[in-house]
Amino acid sequence: MHVSDGILSLPVLAAGTLVASGGVAVGLKKTDYSQMPRAAVLASLFFVTSLIHIPIGPTGAHLVLNGLAGVLLGWAVFPALFIGLILQAVIFSHGGITAVGVNTLNMALPGLLCWKLFGLIRNKAVAGFIAGFLGIAGSMVMLGASLTLTEKAFIPAVKLMGAAHLPVAVAEGAVTAAAVVFLVKTSPEMLSDSHAP
């Protein structure tokens, strides 16, 4: 899911980095001082969860939580995932450093869309599941686009990856739904004030 260095073409990298920078700038501008700790917590969650391997059949995966981050942060999801991704790349070689912009866009944009969607859906448990699911599915679509825009030959690989991530998307939907339900019960203001205008 994290694209390494040397895979994507220069135009894709440049465009992705440009758009992601814009997103990060907007995210930082729109984020109030009081929201920063929450952004830090979700960035840390995103960062740490990639280290926890969940066995699925012969292989396994890790949770991404970009959907949850999007729902709780809104525009701040861009800087949060950006920082998380840079550190993953530098510390663990998890994804390329030149690809950080594209990776940020691929994960934060679906997160942002999940934020919008979440506000529109009444039943928060369902909304949470959809957010988690679309976080992964959206990232896969963006990743697929990045790869196929680089080279058409990637298409079969993209289809394979997409299929492989379907169970992950479902798992992530469940986790996000559970987290949302928990927050609705304990601190509902966390959910509502990320939707404040």
Binding site: R38, A40, V48, L51, H53, I83, L87, I91, F92
Partner: protein, 147 residues
């Protein structure tokens, strides 16, 4: 933002050090050795870019590829026994060669950058600390902007 959430994060970071994790980054080590076959015609000209298949002593296909411009195909056997190499030039010439390998080849891992890999626990703690550091800075600037 409550203390219990911070505590949960730290617990996660510590827990992650013990969870086996398939690598998401890849690395390469460099070595020397192996077994090569050189395929050539009767008159000595090399059979370049010919299809080659290599079979393990158990009969399973180990690797396939093509010979280089000198007719050479190299592989590193990982078990002792009789390996079989099959080469085909696509023009009706085929050869099957048996190679007796005394021991599996081990090759030295060339340490290009010793200690480059961060141990996972330290990496996790470092990362989380840096994340809070960066957002602390952002918060500082955001506050200053407000005034």
């Amino acid at each position: 933002m409550r203390l219990i959430e911070i505590g949960a994060l730290i617990a996660l970071a510590l827990f992650s050090a013990h969870a086996p994790c398939t690598a998401h980054g890849i690395d390469a080590s460099v070595g020397e050795g192996g077994v090569y076959v050189k395929i050539f015609y009767d008159d000595g000209t090399p059979v370049s870019f010919a299809d080659v298949r290599v079979y393990t002593p158990a009969g399973r296909e180990f690797i396939s590829g093509i010979t280089d411009r000198n007719g050479v195909f190299l592989f590193v056997p990982d078990a002792a026994g009789e390996w079989r190499v099959e080469a085909d030039d696509g023009m009706g010439h085929r050869i099957l060669k048996s190679i007796e390998v005394a021991g599996g080849y081990e090759y030295e891992l060339a340490q290009r950058k010793p200690g480059r890999k961060f141990p996972r626990l330290y990496g996790a703690v470092t990362g989380v600390s840096l994340i809070f550091g960066f957002f602390g800075l952002f918060a500082m600037f955001s506050r200053r902007r407000k005034k």
